[in-house]
Symmetry: C2
Subunit: 136 residues, 2 copies
């Protein structure tokens, strides 16, 4: 066995607590797998979006997202078009695609979002933060 | 807008049907997001493992996995050590790490597994297929 190789890891939810996401209302995020485990290529994150929650429109010029909705239902706006997405749906958001999320229901939404591990993570916000947004 | 840029996509479950995985008993897999959408860097797949199901030990010399368990509970064996993983847990399997899965319960397990998009996907099987394995 190569002495330099990385170890496998199981990350239980209490090892990856959700934290509020700035400029959003009701979104929380946890990094599940990424640089902390020595993962070389991509980062797996968990998001939740509370009832009434909103992530305003933004885009990442150089970063794509691959997402899977785990629980609930929300409205995903991609390049100005609304899509109702729900548990079981997957989403591809290419680099440069403007996207926003709104939970119009009364159940929390949970989704997984995978991004490349790169120093080039930039976000261009296209809307002001919604009323009541987290400012941290 | 760059005319060559890719479009965003929502992939509903019926667009990504699960298919049996060869050399396993009771495992099915669907590619959710990947080359079909023009995703450049990584591939998001969904796995299910039926009660009594088993994916025998194998490793990928050049490919890591990032996984999130969505439903159920199973035994994940990593480099010979057993770990009970359940809904909410995430897993990092570095390249070269031997891994196997066994569903010892009576509920189906579902997990997401993300891999790099690379031509270097190789699998070294370390066990024979279990009794009743899919041979397709």
């Amino acid at each position: 066995m190569d002495e330099t190789r990385k170890d496998g890891a199981v990350i239980a939810p209490d090892r990856a607590p959700l934290v509020p996401v700035a400029r959003t209302r009701g979104a929380r995020m946890a990094v599940l797998v990424g640089p902390q485990q020595g993962a070389p290529g991509f980062v797996t994150r968990r998001f939740t979006l509370a009832p009434g929650g909103r992530i305003p429109a933004h885009r990442h010029p150089a970063i794509e997202h691959e997402q899977v909705v785990i629980r609930g239902e929300m409205v995903l706006t991609m390049d100005g078009a609304d899509h109702v997405v729900r548990a079981g749906d997957a989403v591809f958001l290419p680099a440069g695609c403007a996207h926003a999320y709104a939970n119009l229901g009364d159940a929390e939404v949970e989704f997984i979002c995978v991004i490349p591990h790169t120093p080039g993570y930039e976000t261009e916000w296209l809307e002001d933060p919604p009323e009541g947004a987290h400012t941290g």
